[in-house]
Each structure stands twice: as C-alpha cells, then as structure tokens.
C-alpha cells in the first residue's frame, strides 16, 4: 500500500452523502421493495394462492432465495474469520464489506422464510411448540445465533472507527451524531480497550466458523433429510458450503468493484485485492465443481429409476438450459476469466462476480424445484397448473423485493459507517512504513 497520511485516509474513507446516482439507486431499490411489499400484502390477504406454488412444487423461489441468502451470508465468516485466522493481510479492507453482506443476507433469509409460511400469524408456534427433532427448528436456532455473532463481528471492529466518526460532528448532522454517540461514545482508544476487542474478535473468528458451517449444513439438511431424488444425498452439506463460499466471494467481488468506483477508493481496494480475490474465487469454483461432479456423476452412473427422470430433466430435458447456464455461469466461465492475470483486473473480476452470483441464484432454483416435480409416485389426478411451476408476479416481486432489501441495507450501512475500516487501514499503513 502506498504511503498515505492519516488525515487523507480518514478523509477518503468517511461515509459520503448520496450523490445523484446514489439517490437514484436508493429510490429504485425502495421502489422494488415497495412492489414486493405490496405483493406480500396481497399474499397475506389471499393466501399462498397468489403464488404459482401447488401441491407438487410446494417450495419455489422463496425457498431457493432463502438458500441463496444463507449461502451468500457465509462469506462473512470466510473473509473475516478464515482469512484472519490464517494471517492473510490483504483481506483487511474487505472484512467490513463481507460482514455487512453476511448480516443483511442472513436477516433477509429469516424474513423470506416467514414469507414462505402459510400461516405467518402463527410464527410464535415455532417457539411455543418447537420440536427439537425438526431440522427447521435447528435452522431457526442456528440462524439467530449466526445473526448475533455476525452483528458482534461487525460491531467490535467498528468501535475505533466510531470514535473517528464522532469527531466529525458538523459533517454528521444531529441524528447521526446522536446515533454514533449512543453506540460508541465510550470508546477512548485505551490500550485495555484494544486488548479486549482484539481478544473478542479472535474469539468471534473462531466461533463463527463452526456456526457458519452449521447454518448452511442445516439448510442443506432441510432437503437431504427427505427421500426425494436430487436431495437424498450424503454429499449435501459439503456441496452447499462450498457453493456458499463461492457465491459469497462472487458477491464480494461485485461489492468491491462498486464501492471502489462509486466511492473513489482505488487506493484502498486495489488491483492487488482483485487479483487475490480472483484467485480465491477460482479455488472456490474448482472446489464447488468437484462437489457438483460428485453430486451428479455418481447418481447418473447408477441411474436409479427414481433419479433418472430428475437427472435427465436437468441434463437434457426441461431444465437443461437453466442447468447448463447455471453450471457455466457459476463455475466454468468465472474460472476461465479469473484464471488469467488480465481477467483478475477489476472490470473482468466484476463481470466474473456477477456471473457467479447470477449463476448461483439459478443453481439454488434448480436444487429446489426440479426435485419436487419428480415425486416417487407419478404426478396424477391434479389440475393442470399443478404439473408445472413458473413463479407468479407476486413471487417475483417478493423475491426481487428481498434482494433489493439486502442491497438497501448494505447501501445504508455504507452511508452511515465507513465501508473500509479506517482505524485498521491506518494501523496497517503505519506498520508498512516501519517495515
């Protein structure tokens, strides 16, 4: 990193007011959220009738969106915890980006599960009548735990930055200033305080890894604990986790590029970071590819009767175009782009990130829906619309609204807090100088 004066770093990294572009961005996200909210009100009023879900395909894009959110949230643990514990220095500017992606995604994962419920008014039953035997209860426990840990992991490193923020009273305005003081006025940069936070962050980094693994493994068990072809797999936990790290890293690539260009952070999120993250994505894509081969080649080799229809539907049948698109977009293409040094430049890495995320979203859809269209007993004696699934506009709006919601949380977070840790950047710059 180039030598930078402390003041300049603070100046560069302080959160900025929305520009014209930013305002447009926020307004359009709000509009999408509002449409999703309207669609959800309709769903509350008319029931799940407004969706295209029916008795065979009883889980649709709500659940695939849920899996997608849980997956993407795992990146928080990867970037902050795994890289931190392995003493990877370059990841410092990316930690907060990863952590806020994790927090907002996991919050919306919880919300979308409530959206999927037939009786959201009975949500409290999960607590008053919860059965420990049900993987859904495991998921409820683990998601809450992960959300709390992620929030803590966001909060502790934020404390020194809050002190810096509080010092810019005029810039902040009345309300923000009050807010900063409420959550961080007690931070005095005392060495004892640093000692405690460093220890806390270390404990969190260790704790979050098993919890993150648990959250996505349990999510995979929502499927793998059933008998259905395509879900009945012992490979599922590892398959889901590897996919989760991939999509999360893809999302970080996108976020890095956007923050870098929109907030003019070229000096902080450098080409070096894209190079490193690009390599990480290649590695993760290869791991995910490995699990995909396991997941599809092994049953395809045996071609059990119950699996056959499902697998052929993916390979050459009804879902083949989405399947091959998802496979190429989330694995083959990003590997191909990022394996070259030129491909790891910001713009290309950004494109690769988008490919990963979009491909992964469709991959989640393919995990949920095609299986449900291939039950053990043939689909029979039902109205015609029960035999196919294409999401209704309400489902698209709600799913879109939740995606916009995640982006909105990240956007507002970046408006209120420095998206790149100021204090840590200063310390690292200093230590570089000493070296």
């Amino acid at each position: 990193m180039e030598k930078l004066a402390e003041n300049k770093i603070i100046e560069d990294l302080l959160p900025q007011k929305f520009g014209k572009k930013g305002q447009m961005w926020v307004i359009s996200l709000l509009a999408i959220c509002a449409l999703g909210f309207y669609a959800y009100c309709r769903q509350l009023y008319f029931g799940l009738e407004v969706t295209a879900l029916r008795d065979y395909v009883s889980w649709g894009i709500y659940i695939s969106n849920f899996v997608f959110f849980v997956a993407i949230s795992l990146v928080g643990s990867l970037i902050t915890a795994v890289l931190r514990l392995t003493n990877v220095q370059w990841s410092t500017p990316l930690t907060r980006i990863a952590e806020i992606i994790a927090v907002s995604a996991i919050a919306f994962a919880g919300l979308i599960i409530i959206v999927d419920m037939g009786r959201p008014d009975r949500f409290y039953n999960l607590f008053t009548h919860g059965r420990l035997q049900s993987p859904i209860i495991w998921d409820v426990i683990v998601i809450t735990t992960y959300l709390v840990i992620s929030l803590l992991l966001l909060y502790f490193p934020l404390l020194p930055d809050l002190k810096i923020m509080i010092s810019f009273k005029e810039r902040n305005g009345k309300w923000l200033q009050k807010f900063y003081e409420l959550i961080g006025s007690f931070w005095k940069n005392k060495p004892e305080q640093f000692k405690i936070t460093n220890k806390a962050i270390n404990i969190l980094s260790i704790t979050i890894i098993p919890v993150a693994f648990a959250i996505h493994t349990v999510t995979s068990w929502l499927f793998a604990t059933t008998y259905r072809p395509g879900w009945d797999s012992t490979n599922f936990g590892a398959y889901f986790i590897s996919g989760a790290f991939l999509v999360g890293s893809g999302a970080v690539l996108i976020a890095m590029y956007i923050f870098r260009t929109q907030y003019k952070l070229e000096q902080y999120i450098t080409e070096h970071h894209f190079d490193k993250m690009g390599k990480v994505v290649v590695l993760l894509a290869l791991i995910y590819l490995y699990f995909n081969i396991n997941e599809f080649l092994v049953p395809a080799f045996k071609m059990k009767k119950s699996e056959e229809e499902h697998l052929m539907g993916l390979f050459t049948g009804e879902f083949s175009s989405i399947f091959w698109f998802a496979i190429s977009a989330s694995m083959f293409l990003p590997i191909f782009i990022l394996i070259f040094k030129k491909g790891r430049r910001p713009k290309w890495a950004f494109i690769a990130g988008i490919l990963v995320v979009v491909g992964s979203w469709f991959k989640r859809y393919l995990i949920v829906t095609p299986t449900l269209l291939h039950p053990f007993l043939p689909m029979y004696d039902v109205p015609k619309n029960y035999l196919h699934y294409f999401p209704s506009w309400e489902e698209w709006s709600i799913a879109g609204g939740s995606l916009a919601g995640v982006l909105l949380v990240i956007t507002f977070f970046a408006r209120i807090f420095p998206i790149i840790p100021i204090h840590e950047t200063i310390i690292e710059t200093d230590s570089h100088e000493k070296v």
Partner: protein
C-alpha cells in the same frame, strides 16, 4: 303441404315450451326413504331411516331432511316416536322411547311409519315397515361350539323359527369375523337353532382374552335386523405395546432422542455462553471508557 306441417309443428312446440319450462321449475325430486328395524342384543331396539334421491341420474344420499317416526301404520301425534334429521350420509335413527310401550305390547306384529316433510327440493315422502317380533339367542355348548336359536312371537307365544339365514361370528371393528369357513347358517326346523364350531385359532381378545360372539339376522323381511352378543374367554390375551411414550425422531415435542437433546443443548449452551461472554466484554469496554 310439408312446409305447413313443419310450421305447425314449430308453433305447437313454441306454445308448449313455456309450459314445459314452468313445469320443470315446479317439479321436485322424489325422495326415497328406506326404513329398518333393529333389535340390539334383545335389550333395546331402534329404527333407522335412509333418505335417497335420484338427482341428475345418480342416486344421492340426502342430508338435512327432517323425518318423523311413528309406531303403527298411521302418522298421528299420539303415535309419534320422535323426530330426527338425516346426517351427511342421509341417515337418521331413533331409539324406541318409553311412550311406545302401550302400542308395542298390543300385538306380536308391529307396524312403523316414517314421514319426511316437504322441502324446497323434495315432495313429502313416507314409508312403512311391518315386522314380527323376534329374538335371536346365543349360547355355547360343550367345548367351543356356539348354539344359536331364533324365536318369534306367533299368536303371543315364542316359537322357534326355521329356515332363516343367520350369521355367526366374532365381533371385530367394523365387521363380523366368521368363526369357521361357513359364511351363513340356516336355522333348523326343530328348535329354530344352528350350531357353529369355533375354529379361530389364537384370535386376540381383550386383556383377559375375552371375545364377543355375535349372532345376527340381517335385513330379514319378516323380522328385521336382530343381533345377540355373548362374551366368551376363547381368545388370547391382548398384549398392547405402544411406543407412544418412547423417545424417537417421530415422537412429539419433548420426546426427542436423548443423544439429540444432549447434542443440541450442549452446542447451543456453549455457543451462547460465548456470546454472552462477548456481550459482557462490551460492558467492560464501556466501563473502561467512562472511567
């Protein structure tokens, strides 16, 4: 000439058409009632009625029809046994009430009548039933042999009745299990009796090994439906084992397997202790800052 014929025909139909349409709206469906008499174990007895109607070419059971049961063959207030409303299967029944005593003791033969009132959809309907009072008796004779006798009240004397089909079996949920290969028996001319050898090997009974034998007359034109029951210790003791209170993955809340509970609670406790420890650390930092 031919043309005129057609025109006339057309005119004729046009004139008739409204009449036909009107007639149709006025026309109600015909309600068919079936009345049956049941003697239950020679203690109580009841009447059963079923309401059916052919609607759109299909026989359907008609619910919500209010029916009145009368003893004797004319519907009069003094003979009213009671009223009932048909259920979703078009059935209604009434147990013989005490006020029927005088009429019931009058003669060995008995008439009943059931009347359905007119409704928006159906015309009034009624049906009659005549029975001869009869009893079926069940007993055992040496060893596992069942003896069944049918007697009827003829000229105020109970007389054995021959040549009637009876069923003998063991009472089971929803049906009667034959005690051997024979499906039905016919009463003989001497005592109006039949014997049946009990051949069911190791049939489960209640906890004491008791089973209930049943002799029954089904839809007999003269005597109606009669049953008699007898409890005998010919079964094997029922051993009832239930895993309802066992811990398992498919048991109810609070009955999950021990290993699962231990595992889950240990994990949750460990993680949340850490979380609370960290929350305490925030407090410590706060304290340090305020000092």
């Amino acid at each position: 000439m031919k043309k005129y014929k057609y025109i006339l025909l057309l005119l004729f139909t046009l004139l008739l058409a409204p009449n036909i349409l009107l007639a149709k709206t006025d026309e109600k469906n015909i309600l068919a009632l079936t009345l049956k008499y049941y003697n239950d174990n020679n203690i109580s007895h009841h009447l059963w009625v079923n309401a059916k109607s052919k609607i759109d070419g299909k026989f359907q059971q008609i619910p919500n029809i209010s029916v009145s049961f009368y003893i004797t063959n004319y519907a009069d207030k003094t003979n009213l046994l009671g009223k009932a409303v048909t259920n979703e299967k078009g059935e209604a029944m009434i147990v013989m009430p005490p006020n029927a005593k005088a009429e019931w003791l009058k003669s060995p033969n008995q008439n009943f009548i059931v009347v359905a009132n007119e409704t928006k959809q159906f015309d009034a309907a009624k049906t009659e039933l005549a029975i001869t009072k009869a009893k079926i008796k069940i007993d055992t004779i040496n060893g596992k042999v069942i003896n069944v006798n049918l007697i009827a009240l003829i000229d105020s004397i109970w007389k054995p009745i021959s040549g009637v089909e009876v069923i003998i079996g063991v009472k089971r949920l929803g049906g009667i299990l034959n005690v051997n290969e024979t499906q039905t028996y016919t009463t003989d001319s001497v005592f109006g009796g039949v014997t049946a050898e009990f051949k069911l090997d190791r049939i489960p009974g209640d906890k004491q090994g008791n089973i209930i034998l049943i002799a029954s007359l089904v839809d007999n034109e003269t005597y109606g439906n009669l049953t008699a029951e007898l409890k005998v210790p010919w079964g094997i003791n029922l051993v009832y084992v239930s895993n309802f209170d066992h811990r398992s993955l498919f048991a109810r809340r609070g009955y999950s397997p021990i290993w699962l509970e231990l595992l889950a609670y240990i994990i949750v406790v460990v993680v949340w202790v850490i979380i609370f420890y960290l929350l305490l650390q925030i407090k410590r930092i706060k304290k340090l800052g305020i000092e």
